[in-house]
Symmetry: C2
Subunit: 152 residues, 2 copies
């Protein structure tokens, strides 16, 4: 975690390129991935520290499956990062500050997303609407019927 | 949406490289980003169709801010993608099939993540634990006190 805090310090205080968010991913006692927030630096809203660390670890290990990995992140993950960590199948998450801390000290507000995803997508502040389902279901049926369709 | 379904067909049925997930992002009537699921192709669990389309649109537009963009995705977004679309500040989301469809036809199961994020992180199936908060808070205070600290 101290390494993650170092990364967070570098990106926020030294480089002034984002919030103090750093992340380190460890497997079998060795660092396999690390990252810091690079939303502004990369012009990409998906580049949170955890996301960058996941991608780095996947490159290091040569797989999309981070089973057995432990994640050290300076901030409690937002729903995007939590979802990514879930899909990556990591084993455990440690965080050094809460989403309340991020709001209080940095004006980063994850709570509205956590509130939104509790509701059906039609009823969220950023809402989703169904469209052309009748044209999509045949593709799903074709996928389901395909021998040896991709599984992961 | 028909373009998104085409992308989904290509990646799943033609290339056999993933599920039938495609996404198209439109601004002012023009396509600015598109993507298909490439988790297996890229060995990266973050490479859902929506995520790839967001990154593509950000590159096209030269900004992390996709305000005013409309998203057409073949599958209702998972919490990772929904969070990313939120951070990207898109205007609206259309989806062609539900998370129930993805489970029924493709055995892709987003529901456990949606269930998990309803709870505090300590109580989720993939749980998070606080660590070294006393070493992180001084960095937050330093960030807060820094003149012109990064905002986005």
């Amino acid at each position: 975690m101290r390494r993650a805090i170092d990364l967070a310090r570098r990106t926020s205080i030294v480089d002034k390129s984002g919030g103090p968010f750093g992340c380190v991913i460890v497997k079998d006692g060795s660092i396999v991935g690390e990252g810091a927030n690079s939303v502004l630096a990369d012009g990409d809203p998906t580049c949170h520290g955890e996301m960058n660390a996941i991608r780095h670890a996947c490159t290091t290990l040569g797989t999309h499956d981070l089973s057995g990995c432990i994640v050290y992140t300076t901030g409690e993950p937002c729903p995007m990062c939590y979802g990514a960590l879930w899909w990556a199948r990591v084993e455990a998450i440690y965080y050094a500050s809460t989403i309340q801390d991020a709001k209080e000290f940095g004006d980063f507000d994850d709570m509205p997303i956590y509130e939104a995803v509790k509701n059906p997508i039609e009823k969220r502040r950023l809402a989703g609407s169904e469209l052309l389902r009748d044209e999509m279901i045949p593709l799903w049926r074709e996928f389901q019927a395909m021998p040896n369709h991709p599984e992961y």
